[in-house]
């Protein structure tokens, strides 16, 4: 099963399991979404449960607020994360705040799914990674899976959650990784990172499509006799400080790999955690290995921007030799 199938499976299970779940968005119904993530769901669950919305992102997020207030569990698809900005006001002002504003009276069990990230030779606005923007907003939870298995379990957890979740899907690896995924319903707790590979020389924190690049870099590093511990963050917020701190206390070194821009990003947060929680164990400055603070170039220039295993290896070596 690839990640597209896994997300589809999670939605299918939750639609079957809970009649409060409503899945909608642009082209989500008949066509099954531009990435076919919701394919077949309308036919199976009916046009009241799975349907095409008018083409309006603020409308998607805003109506989800109303549905949630009235007791439903809307799962909304933003066609691309780069198209979500018209919904920013609704997400920041209401999705994230209604529960607090109403003193717990109106819960906002909303999941906003959005494919994100570069590397697919796309037009403008289709390649960015704005997880730090969502992670910065009080009231939201932000998840990013890196495998089909995690995608299914994390999405089920997100839909079961009573808090609003921004669920970012690394579209570059939508179909790139195939994996055995259990048929049954299972969930992966939010806020828990996963140590993918144990290592002793350096901790590399990443998530989403960057995990695959980091794994390649770790294989290259092994040839240089560098032992890399890889942490898949999985949850941008809540962030798993403890797993990061424990690892850094062990290895004494940490770099964070993101395809997002550098300044004010998740990588800065990881560096801060390393310094606040493991300062006396550090043998090198925590390093941010990220995209540039630029707009992701159009396909002909995108290779300059994209993270490569070699670039990660280069930064691993620099940090280990510091």
């Amino acid at each position: 099963m690839n990640m597209v199938n896994a997300v589809n499976d999670a939605l299918d299970i939750m639609l079957t399991h809970d009649d409060r779940v409503i899945v909608y968005g642009e082209d989500v119904g008949v066509e099954g979404g531009v990435f076919r993530v919701t394919e077949g769901l309308q036919a199976k669950h009916g046009a009241q449960r799975v349907f095409d919305s008018p083409l309006a992102e603020s409308g998607l997020a805003g109506t989800a607020v109303g549905m949630a207030a009235a007791g439903l569990k809307p799962v909304v698809e933003m066609q691309f994360s780069g198209f979500a900005y018209p919904a920013f006001n609704q997400i920041v002002s209401h999705v994230a705040r209604m529960h607090n504003r109403s003193r717990g009276k109106f819960k906002m069990p909303i999941v906003i799914r959005m494919p994100y990230g570069g590397g697919i030779n796309a037009l403008e606005h289709h390649s960015e990674s704005l997880e730090a923007v969502w992670g910065h907003i009080p009231g939201l939870k932000v998840l990013i899976p890196s495998t089909p298995y995690d995608a299914k379990g994390m999405l089920i957890a997100a839909i079961e959650s009573e808090d609003p979740v921004i669920f970012m899907e690394p579209k570059r690896i939508y179909r790139a990784i195939k994996q055995e995924v259990p048929e049954e319903k299972y969930s992966i707790p939010m806020g828990k990172a996963k140590v993918l590979t144990q290592g002793s020389d350096i901790t590399v924190v990443a998530y989403g499509a960057m995990i695959r690049e980091v794994q390649k870099a770790a294989a290259l590093a092994k040839k240089e006799n560098i032992s890399v511990e890889i942490i898949d963050l999985r949850s941008i917020y809540p962030i798993d400080k403890e797993t990061i701190a424990q690892s850094v206390r062990k290895t004494g070194r940490v770099i964070t790999v993101t395809e997002a821009t550098r300044s004010f990003g998740v990588s800065a947060e990881i560096s801060a955690i390393a310094m606040e929680e493991a300062f006396l164990h550090l043998e090198a400055p925590p390093k941010r290995v990220t995209g540039f603070d630029t707009i992701v170039p159009l396909p002909r220039g995108e290779h300059h921007y994209l993270m490569s295993p070699e670039k990660i290896l280069y930064e691993i070596i620099r940090t280990v030799k510091f």
Binding site: P54, G59, G66, N89, S93, P138, D163
Partner: protein, 362 residues
Amino acid sequence: MFTEYHPTKKKRFQVMDNDGKIINKKYFPDLSDAQVLKAYKDMLFARTADLMVVSYQRQGRIYTYPPNYGQEAIAGAVAQQIRHDDWVVPAFREMGLYLAKGATLKELFLYFMGYEDGSRFEKSNHMLPMSVPIASQLLHAAGIGYEINYRRKDEIVYTFVGDGGTSEGDFHEALNFAGVWKAPVIFIVQNNQYGISTPFRMQTASEGIAIKAMAYGIAGIQVDGNDFFAMYEAVKRSVAHIQEGKGPVLIEAVTYRKGAHTTSDDPTKYRTKEEEEQWDCTDPLKRLKAYLETRGVYNHEMEAQLIDEYKKETDRQFIEAENYPAYPLEDAFRFMYVDMPDDLKQQQTEHERFLKWKEAKQ
């Protein structure tokens, strides 16, 4: 009614003239004198409380407040017919309706004194808190409407926005979504002629708001929003329209904000005395009072007595709100999430540690 007063006919729906005389008997609502008297009393209560809040604000006893003064018939007309399970999705200038929906003055005061507790509306089942980001609430109404249809319930959503709010994209999106979904929503635009200081003609080149309904394939009607009977009947027929499965309705309630936008602005800067006097003749309470006096069921003595009673009640609830317990640190944190992240708990604990340190130092 929706055909007779179709927006293209450029007719404003009116039942009563400025002197309280019924000029459109065909549409006079089926209301007894006692019912009309109750409606008037509710509106008078809202007005009395509203004017008192402005004076509390001037005394520095409450923060910024958006007055309802002059617009009471709109919320008042809905308040007289809203059913227990109907929804209210407010903007922030519909006091009479919040009260009818179970909110208390004390809660409203708490909100404007700076407590989120004032938005909980403990005794109200289906009312969202006031919405500050202009027009954003209209989409919530459409979403609630979806749920009502999905669950096949017989409920109506009443949602509100001002004339300024109709310039927002969310106004368009909400009417569009609601139209496509045939959501049971009554969109009420309180066209009070100003968005803070910006006059209606600077908001839109359209001759009015009601006509915009046509673009969404829904019913629209322009109503004299200061005419209680016209508002009442328009709302009643909108409910029937929805119950017949014909989808949402857009009501443009033409009114005038006699007060400021909020206590922070000064209307003398952007409108003239002449204009204010002209609109004074259309005052919703004045007109309904004239009607009741003609019917022989109301007089000056009753009015004086009621105002006195309402002032005391307002003051009582205001003082209760003033004596509300101090805002505990915990309240800033506890409703951020249903399942609060450990890190957030830790932030609270860290701050509490600091407070203990500070206390020990003093």
